[in-house]
Symmetry: C2
Subunit: 264 residues, 2 copies
């Protein structure tokens, strides 16, 4: 049984708490938050506190607070030489105060208050500064996910950046699609199966192979039609830039097909 | 029982053929393609032909060929006053030769050769130039999908354009994420659950409400870090443009939060 203390009460902390609470291999010995009100609903399940001097002993301390608050909170911890990890994609384990043993426990998923998360499929990126700490952190990862693995800081930074593209930026494309459909009295709902299928397709195929559409075909007529119908200049810029990006990615086959055309 | 003839043998034609073939309410009387080889594997199931003069009588003729070929093929049809529809998102029903009754049967989904499609969830956009033709086309839509509805040409054009954003452009963001992770020896596979969850989230929440991340929070430190680590200038441009787009979308709450900060 691994004992943990959770520090913080944002979305990640809440979802981690639930996952640990449901696991037979983990005990949440305590949950700390600066503002105790947020975690009061859980006081019958777990020891809660808003007082760092009251922190209890545990195998692993999990700092699940905003990036900017990690260093400060880790400095205030009233103990040393224990294993302390944060849950951030972009911060270094060195951002944790060096009086403790340090590591990272970064779940690569989007968490919101309302949506339930099946943690067993969430990839968890694990890192410890000292090799001998790794097996314990790995055990914690395996206790809640089938998909935890060692990821160094450079790899984690790349994953965090890539996550912005596939999550935040993709979601903004959905938003623009929402604006485009609504502006013509069409229903955004009609795009939902396509949105799901687009995500499902790259679970099997590479994004390179999954690509279709006017930019990949270099279908100038349709591209021109689309650009003409886009009223928002900003949307037009995004259309142009991503069309060029697709053309660059598929440049070889595109050059070949225009070469063929010239030969005809 | 509605009888149809399919013209063309691309991805859409293949998937439509399968869906019609499985429906008890539809008979595929004939399948035409210029190159008969493509449809020869189906010759034991359906009458096939490569000769337009041999086209049989049917309730609806479905032209599922590339946009540029629709007008020409429709001109060559050796009959008149029958119901002829195309399956294109961006072409008008007027692109079909006027000797026949005209309409559109546009399935809004991404089709590839390999992937199976559950047609019952595919939205189908229906349009007929003459009102009295609509009930028959509607019946055909309902025979294969729970999700068919009347969509005029302006709405269909908006959906087709929006589909480029949620499908082709989103897929290109996946591709860029692939490049970013591989460049650091990280695994693109680790992003796959996030890709699915991002698509799943907007099935319930609006994209506006589903948004999270550094651009929405206006987290300048992380944005700066990300821009610094992007080596590809083109990826940098996409990062900047989509970050600005998210900021614009969430401008009100952003202005309010910076106002609050100033007041503190």
């Amino acid at each position: 049984m691994i004992s943990v203390v959770i520090l913080g009460a944002g979305n990640v902390a809440h979802h981690l708490y639930k996952a640990f609470f449901s696991s037979e291999k983990v005990t949440v010995k305590q949950w700390y938050n600066r503002n105790i009100k947020t975690i009061e609903p859980f006081k019958n399940e777990v020891n809660i506190t808003d007082d760092l001097s009251q922190l209890t002993e545990a195998d692993i301390y999990i700092i699940a607070v905003s990036d900017d608050a990690i260093a400060g909170l880790s400095k205030k911890l009233p103990f040393e030489k224990r294993l302390v990890v944060h849950t951030s994609g972009s911060m270094s384990p060195y951002d944790i105060d060096k009086k403790n043993r340090r590591g990272v426990f970064y779940p690569l998923q989007t968490f919101s208050k309302s949506a339930e998360v099946d943690f067993s499929t969430v990839p968890i990126c694990l890192e410890t500064l000292v090799r001998t700490d790794y097996p314990l952190l790995q055990k914690l990862g395996k206790a809640i996910s089938k998909n935890s693995r060692r990821v160094n800081s450079d790899q984690r930074a790349a994953l965090h950046l890539a996550a912005v593209f596939v999550n935040n930026f993709t979601n903004q494309l959905y938003r623009i699609a929402h604006e485009i459909t609504e502006s013509q009295g069409a229903e955004f709902d009609m795009l939902k199966p396509l949105i799901l299928e687009t995500a499902a397709k790259v679970q099997e195929l590479s994004p390179y192979k999954a690509q279709t559409g006017p930019a990949k075909r270099n279908d100038k007529k349709t591209i021109k039609k689309h650009l003409k119908s886009l009223e928002n200049e900003h949307h037009k810029d995004i259309y142009k830039l991503l069309t060029t990006s697709i053309k660059n990615t598929h440049a070889l086959s595109y050059q070949q097909s225009s070469k063929n055309k010239t030969n005809n």
